[in-house]
């Protein structure tokens, strides 16, 4: 050991030492890593690239040669994988984490010194490997370059860019204007523009029929069951009962012992259902309703064991019509929807949520505002890897087997 050229064993010892040094630093410092933002992170990136190029060009020490070797590559990927595996098993950002996890940073690994140092070592090894294989460039190394440099760019840009990433949350009521958004620590920030919520809309799936245990009010759903939608005239088979939906109102209110349609806020869906037992011995007719934040649900008892219930409708789609004000009389209208954010002056505005207790009667819309100036760099890396992977599918592993059977 420790005679050049180094191999796997040296690689594992060095990489594990790097990780242990990270844990030690965490214990000494007592806090996680906070990477610097612009312009310091930009300078770090330039220095890092220059360091890789110059050292590759001018330092001919066997240690540098080893850094671009397979031993170093496998060791650094393995130890990095080990850290990500810990992340996979230990709940992250868990406020109930015990002191040991908090001290070592294992409850928030991506912010730990061990993670920073290990991924930095991985990036150095990957960086020197790219230099060695692609300087001078030859066309047959294209796929190698795309995959490896793409990965290097993604990791570097995502890590260095994290300090410049803004993720803010803003809640607006219908008819109101807001220009303040809050980060995860609830610090308020004034935006360079204001958002007015013109209208918030929810489109729902029809409610569904379910059987409820009278004893504890729990839903009785067997695996393999079909969930029946409540639509006027529809029929359903549930546990030996045949149900027919005689009437269905999307918005209804209770009047004595029946329901009637209304457009009042907080109205709930309701249906008149005829339930017939299979042997036809029992017939029950009555109203069911899922209830809402304002009115309580109604169940239809079928026998002493079960009642028929209406399961609250699930949202199909929700969207906000917003007006973004650049100044008092300069504005533009947009619609924000899940999976369809709005781009405005370097920000992306996402439909994040609404008042779920009120459901379709929510007049509140929650937006997430994201600004990520490093995104184009990360995407460059992602597209490089995508093209490099296409090449992998196309070419496969070209080496021929040595012995045929």
């Amino acid at each position: 050991m420790w005679k050049y050229p180094w191999g796997y064993r040296e690689g594992f010892i060095i990489t594990l030492s790097v990780m242990v040094a990270g844990f030690a630093m965490q214990l000494v410092k007592g806090s996680g890593v906070h990477l610097p933002g612009w312009p310091v992170n930009g300078i770090i990136l330039v220095v890092f690239i220059l360091y890789l190029i110059l050292v590759h060009r001018y330092v001919k020490h066997p240690l540098i040669r080893w850094l671009s070797s397979s031993g170093a590559a496998i060791a650094s990927i393995s130890v990095f994988t080990l850290l990500v595996l810990l992340m996979g098993f230990i709940p992250q950002k868990d406020p109930q984490a015990n002191d040991f996890l908090k001290m070592t940073g294992l409850d928030h690994i991506t912010r730990s010194w061990a993670y920073l140092l290990t991924s930095l070592f991985l990036l150095i090894v990957l960086g020197f490997t790219i230099m060695r294989r692609t300087l001078p460039f030859s066309i047959k190394n294209t796929a190698f370059f795309l995959n490896h440099a793409g990965l290097w760019i993604v990791i570097v840009a995502a890590s260095l860019g994290s300090a410049d990433l803004w993720r803010l949350s803003m809640s607006v009521n219908e008819g109101q204007v807001s220009f303040t958004a809050y980060d995860a620590q609830n610090n308020g920030y004034r935006l360079p523009f204001a958002i007015k919520l013109m209208d918030f809309k929810i489109d729902e799936y029809p409610p569904r029929l379910g059987l409820m245990n009278n004893a504890d009010g729990s839903l009785k759903i067997k695996k393999g069951d079909k969930l029946f939608e409540v639509v006027e005239g529809s029929e359903a088979q549930l546990d030996g009962w045949k149900m027919v939906v005689v009437h269905y109102y999307e918005n209804a209110r209770k009047n004595l012992n029946r329901y009637e349609p209304t457009s009042m806020e907080g109205a709930a869906p309701a249906a008149l259902v005829l339930a017939v037992e299979r042997s036809q011995r029992d017939t029950v007719l009555g109203w069911i309703s899922s209830g809402s934040h304002k009115v309580s649900p109604s169940f239809l008892p079928l026998n002493h064991e079960v009642s028929l219930a209406m399961i609250s409708p699930a949202p199909r789609k929700y969207s906000s019509s917003i007006r973004i004000y650049e100044s008092m009389n300069e504005y533009e209208d947009f619609t924000v929807e899940v999976n369809d954010p709005v781009k405005y002056r370097g920000w992306k505005i996402y439909q994040a949520g609404y008042n779920e207790k009120k459901g379709k009667w929510s007049r509140l819309s929650v937006f997430e505002l994201v600004r990520d100036p490093w995104l184009p760099v990360v995407y460059t890396g992602i597209f490089m890897i995508l093209i490099g992977s296409l090449y992998l599918v196309w070419m496969g592993r070209s080496a021929k087997p040595t012995a045929k059977q």
């Binding site: 994988t81 759903i221 079909k226 789609k317 999976n339 992306k348 992602i382 599918v393 021929k400």
Partner: protein, 265 residues
């Protein structure tokens, strides 16, 4: 089509594969060859037909629940088995993939899905189908590679050279790994549109990344240490175990309680 009709499709498919594989094991002539091909191929067409009809009656793409993805998986893995069989005449790959397909159909039979038409708004995206399909194809190739790995370990145990087997495993891993990469990156591009950021270290993302890293290790290990065959084969077997944790096992991990990737009912 609902899950109530699923057992008919599943057991007919298993019966067709079983008789087809039996015929594949013996030397055939003339019409029997055609019969074998019809049995094998129609066995795979049955789960495909089921999932397409289910798509029609669900009125949404059937890629949301684990049971739905398992049917697609059965289709893809047996197609891969058929392709490898017709391309390289490897009967054992045919048997392995059909057994694997049958196991996945039986899991669905024992643990059936609820017929549920709802599709949450986060999943309503043009990325939904490509993201899941490339993953399922990747998973199917990687399952095939681990079966090849087991065959290699058996050959080593019997004192035979597994070189050719490993060469086949490498090729299949390269294809599977590329699809895994597509799945991961499509997921990142979609997450940016749906959740505001391309990477959130959601437990499912973390495990998908671990799976990707383990196969990355295998590929590098094979390039650099050609002689360490036994280790390579064990890495291949381990990698598939990690993949299965990522796919199903994650639902049982304490670290994954908060995952936004759990879409089952």
């Amino acid at each position: 089509m609902t899950w109530l009709e699923f057992p008919y499709f599943a057991f007919s498919a298993i019966f067709l594969w079983f008789t087809g594989v039996l015929l594949a094991l013996v030397r055939l002539r003339g019409g029997a060859v055609i019969l074998r091909d019809v049995l094998l191929i129609s066995g795979t067409l049955l789960p495909l037909a089921f999932v397409l009809l289910l798509w029609d009656s669900l009125e949404r793409p059937p890629f949301r629940t684990l049971a739905e993805t398992r049917v697609w998986y059965t289709v893809f893995i047996t197609v891969i088995g058929l392709v490898i069989y017709y391309r390289w005449r490897l009967v054992w790959m045919l048997i392995y993939t059909m057994v694997m397909g049958a196991v996945f159909l039986i899991i669905n039979y024992v643990n059936p899905d609820t017929f549920d038409k709802t599709l949450m708004p986060a999943l309503q995206s043009p990325w939904f189908i490509p993201h899941v399909i490339v993953y399922i194809i990747g998973y199917a190739f990687l399952a095939a590679s681990s079966l090849i790995g087991i065959k290699g370990l058996y050959q080593l145990y019997r004192g035979k050279s597994p070189d050719h087997t490993l060469w086949l495993a490498d090729n299949v891993v390269y294809i599977g790994f590329a699809f895994l990469t597509f799945g991961l990156l499509f997921g990142a591009l979609w997450a940016k549109e749906a959740w505001g950021h391309y990477w959130s270290w959601d437990p499912k993302e973390t495990w998908a990344f671990i799976t990707w890293l383990v196969y990355l290790l295998y590929i590098h290990f094979r390039i650099n240490k050609k002689s360490a065959i036994r280790t390579a084969l064990w890495v291949l077997a381990l990698a598939f175990a990690v993949l299965l944790i990522c796919w199903f096992g994650i639902n049982y991990l304490p670290s994954a309680r908060s995952s936004v990737h759990v879409y089952s009912t």
